[in-house]
């Protein structure tokens, strides 16, 4: 593949779509452009400054809960919804403005892998963005085990998948309150986060991991550091546990850390993570040899996610097909605004765009997150909505003087002659821009 096409692949599939001038900056070294970001992820984007920490928000919610349901509703209405919009907007603006878009894409990828959702759980509404900033972002190019521990010990995940309430039935707290375990987090932790559904665990393993994780919870209002993560020994199921054939002696929080370590280095986890990365970066149906190479890199590097990314871009399959993937709605919105030079507007219409396209940040309907395949995003209604959005956005964005030239600037040689013709035939400049954004090559990455 010619260097110009490789630059377009780097910007579209590894980045978040080119901004004007970005392909020229990538130039003849697309791998170097990606590697530089992997090795030097840089500080968190400026757009994320000033957002509230999850602990502070959770503490406020706990205080409101003491005041009753009315107080909670008031807090949701006056505060938590605004925090959600600000977080979702900041995340999108960080992506639109980024000059290290590979890092932003990885944040979105891992945030979706470890989905928390504000649907159905009010406790997550104000802290989903904080979860991404606090637990996901610092680790996307570090070790998978660190990422996993950060996720599982974050209040957002513990609340979203109910572990915060899970209590060992034979623990002191369990005996006193006649409460017991909830296996929701334990199951999804193995099925969705580590081993994968065919990763070789049984129902008994789910139950045992749930016992191991009893006590991993959130500090209540009347104790120091309310709203923070803490391990509560009195809620922890006492005694030894058997997980995936290994015996875990009673060890309090250490049991959970040891289990997360074992899950991190399990070959099934390497295969599962490799498959998801290959699906995201290579094709909806991941090529088995690429999955093998990535899994091997994951195992040999002990889950060093930067090393796995370096392996990924060394694979020839990555560069063979320029546009194998349909953009998700989030990718489409971000890349459209990048192509048009940025976004200066308010958060609400930005988040509303993704609401209309059925992929609002932190609102996946199920803990498996948003789908990563064309079949989920392209249907009769969803495609019409995409085009409606593109047309509405193009009518509001600054239209470049030469739309075909802008197309070449952001798509390089991937811009087809047919699309150039269609842009030139469009009845107005705004519709010419819409034609570029709706074109088959811009809809893909």
């Amino acid at each position: 593949m010619a260097a110009a096409a490789e630059a377009a692949i780097a910007a579209g599939r590894f980045g978040l779509g080119a901004r004007p001038g970005e392909l020229a900056r990538i130039g003849r070294d697309p791998r170097g452009w990606i590697l530089d970001q992997i090795r030097r992820p840089g500080p968190p984007p400026a757009a994320l400054a000033g957002l509230p920490a999850s602990q502070a928000v959770t503490e406020q919610l706990m205080a409101a809960r003491q005041g009753g349901p009315k107080e909670v509703k008031k807090l949701v209405r006056e505060k938590l919804r605004e925090i959600y919009i600000a977080e979702a907007g900041a995340r999108l603006r960080a992506a639109i403005d980024s000059d290290r878009p590979v890092v932003e894409r990885l944040v979105h990828f891992w945030s979706n892998h470890f989905t928390v959702s504000v649907r159905q759980k009010v406790a997550v509404l104000g802290i989903a963005g904080a979860f991404e900033r606090e637990a996901i972002r610092p680790h996307v190019l570090g070790s998978f085990e660190d990422l996993l521990v950060a996720v599982v010990s974050h209040p957002a995940m513990l609340l979203y998948l109910d572990n915060a309430q899970s209590i060992g039935p034979n623990s002191r707290a369990g005996q006193r309150a006649k409460r017991g375990i909830n296996e929701n987090l334990a199951r999804e932790l193995m099925e969705l986060h580590t081993l994968g559904v065919d990763g070789g665990y049984s129902q008994a393993d789910v139950t045992e991991l749930a016992k191991i994780l009893t006590g991993w919870s959130v500090v209540p209002k009347r104790q120091p550091d309310p709203g923070a993560f803490r391990f509560f020994q009195p809620a922890h199921e006492p005694g030894p546990k058997m997980l995936l054939g290994l015996r875990y002696e009673e060890g309090g929080q250490q049991e959970g850390l040891a289990a997360l370590h074992a899950l991190s280095v399990d070959p099934a986890t390497a295969r599962f993570v490799a498959t998801k990365l290959a699906r995201h970066f290579i094709a909806d149906t991941p090529p088995p040899d690429a999955v093998q190479r990535l899994a091997k890199s994951f195992r040999e590097s002990r889950g060093d996610l930067a090393a796995v990314m370096a392996t990924l871009i060394s694979l020839p399959q990555v560069w063979a097909d320029p546009l194998p993937k349909i953009k998700s709605p989030s990718d489409l919105v971000i890349s459209s605004l990048r192509a048009c030079g940025g976004y200066q507007g308010a958060d609400k219409p930005l988040v509303g765009s993704l609401m209309a396209l059925d992929q609002p940040p932190f609102q996946a309907l199920q803990p498996s997150g948003f789908a990563d395949q064309a079949s989920a995003w392209i249907g009769p209604e969803s495609l019409v909505r995409r085009i409606e959005w593109v047309q509405a956005a193009a009518a509001r964005l600054p239209v470049p003087d030469d739309i075909v030239a802008r197309g070449e600037d952001v798509l390089g040689p991937l811009l087809t002659a047919d699309t150039k013709t269609a842009i030139r035939r469009a009845p107005s400049p705004a519709e010419g821009l819409a034609m570029l954004l709706a074109s088959p090559e811009f809809q893909r990455r």
């Binding site: 159905q120 009769p380 495609l383 709706a438």
Partner: protein, 402 residues
């Protein structure tokens, strides 16, 4: 640019030569009056809480704090079963013999992953990831086909669920949230997409769907707010689905989806997450019935889920993933007022893996019975094409009037 309604958009496109996108602008009547609606209840619907076996002597002990009783979270249906009070609004349908439940039912899937379970429910295969197509799409091929390319299948909601994906072209409808498209632009874009195997057909179907829904609905605008809220907008979506199905030239098979059933915590009894979710489900089903009007007579509605939930309450006033559950079957075509089941019992030794309701009915038997009753689908097609490798699974008899 003047604002065009979608109806004018369609006629405008015809005049502009966009007919390639719009085969058969005039809608001809489908060759069947029978309607089938499948409501996918995603997240594992707790059949033991929805249709509690009040007459089972082991029930109260097995369920613990989540056990219901007549007058306390449940209405008695017969000597053996009750109805969760969250579905009380459906009781008149039961009394009119237009509602039945199939209990202790499960798909062939026996693990406990939501996502694999839903995959099996929607592909109709005996194992996860058996197909990229859905059984209901394959079933559409068995219906009498309209000559004009009219779409018989309808996805209600922004995306097409797996159950309806496949080679049979379908329509889709969701409330409008954005300004309408400009016809000239669409015409140009249609040409640009003509060679694209994914985007080309999807755009043609999308325009066709809007033509259908606008012609049938006029300029109805359902609130986008309501529709994006889980549960809350379900009744509005269901009402629209009913209108699109009721019309003589409308769709005949529709799919809706509803989440909110994964009640690991705070499931509750007379109040709680499950009761709230059930109230929303009941409102939606009644809205569907109202909108169907006379066509309700010809309709069968199935509300089905990927698997059930544990018999015992878990440690957090909820239930974890289980196996056997209940399915709702309603409509004018249903011989209702019954709980259809070979009840396995809830004594510890009778449970599946010592924790779940033992399934005694195969979900595919219910789905086959509906396709057979509504569309005369034959056993060979059902057992090989629609639900591959399932010739040994017989349609459950007697659910629908002949």
């Amino acid at each position: 640019m003047p604002s065009l309604s979608r109806r004018t958009l369609l006629y405008g496109m015809g005049a502009l030569g966009g007919a390639c996108l719009l085969p058969g602008l005039a809608l001809a009547a489908p060759a069947t009056d029978k309607r089938l609606v499948v409501v996918i209840l995603r997240g594992a619907f707790d059949g033991l809480a929805v249709v509690p076996p009040l007459g089972d002597r082991d029930y109260a002990a097995a369920r613990g704090g989540l056990a219901l009783s007549s007058g306390n979270g449940a209405l008695a249906l017969d000597a053996d079963f009750g109805l969760n009070a969250g579905l009380a609004d459906l009781k008149p349908l039961w009394d009119a013999r237009e509602l039945l439940f199939v209990h202790a039912i499960a798909s062939p899937y026996r693990e406990r992953s939501h996502f694999d379970g839903q995959n099996v429910l929607e592909t109709g295969f005996g194992h996860p990831q058996g197909s990229a197509d859905g059984w209901l799409n394959r079933a559409l091929a068995l219906l009498p086909q309209p000559a004009d390319g009219h779409r018989l299948g309808l996805a209600v909601g922004p995306s097409v669920p797996l159950i309806l994906r496949g080679p049979q072209r379908i329509a889709a409808w969701a409330p409008e949230t954005m300004p309408e498209l400009d016809p000239t632009f669409l015409d140009l874009l249609g040409r640009l997409y003509a060679k694209d195997p994914l985007l080309g057909p999807a755009l043609a179907d999308g325009i066709k769907s809007q033509g259908m829904s606008d012609a049938l609905l006029g300029s109805v605008k359902s609130g986008k707010r309501a529709a994006t809220r889980p549960g809350g907008g379900f009744a509005a979506l269901a009402a629209t689905a009913g209108k699109l199905l009721a019309a003589p030239d409308g769709a005949r098979v529709a799919v809706m989806e509803l989440t909110g059933w994964d009640t690991h915590a705070g499931q509750g009894t007379d109040k709680g997450r499950l009761a709230n979710a059930l109230t929303g489900l009941a409102a939606g089903l009644l809205a569907l019935k109202d909108a169907l009007g006379e066509a309700w007579r010809d309709t069968a509605v199935l509300a089905v889920t990927e698997f059930g939930r544990t018999v015992a309450e878990n440690g957090t006033n909820g239930t974890d993933h289980g196996t056997g559950t209940a399915a709702l079957v309603l409509g004018g075509r249903v011989r209702g007022g019954r709980v259809v089941t070979q009840w396995p019992g809830l004594a510890p030794a009778k449970l599946y893996q010592a924790r779940d309701l033992m399934p005694t009915a195969d979900l595919r038997g219910l789905l086959k019975a509906a396709l057979q009753a509504q569309y005369g689908a034959g056993a060979p097609a059902l057992g090989t094409k629609v639900f591959p490798d399932s010739t040994d699974v017989k349609p459950i008899e007697g659910l629908f009037s002949v």
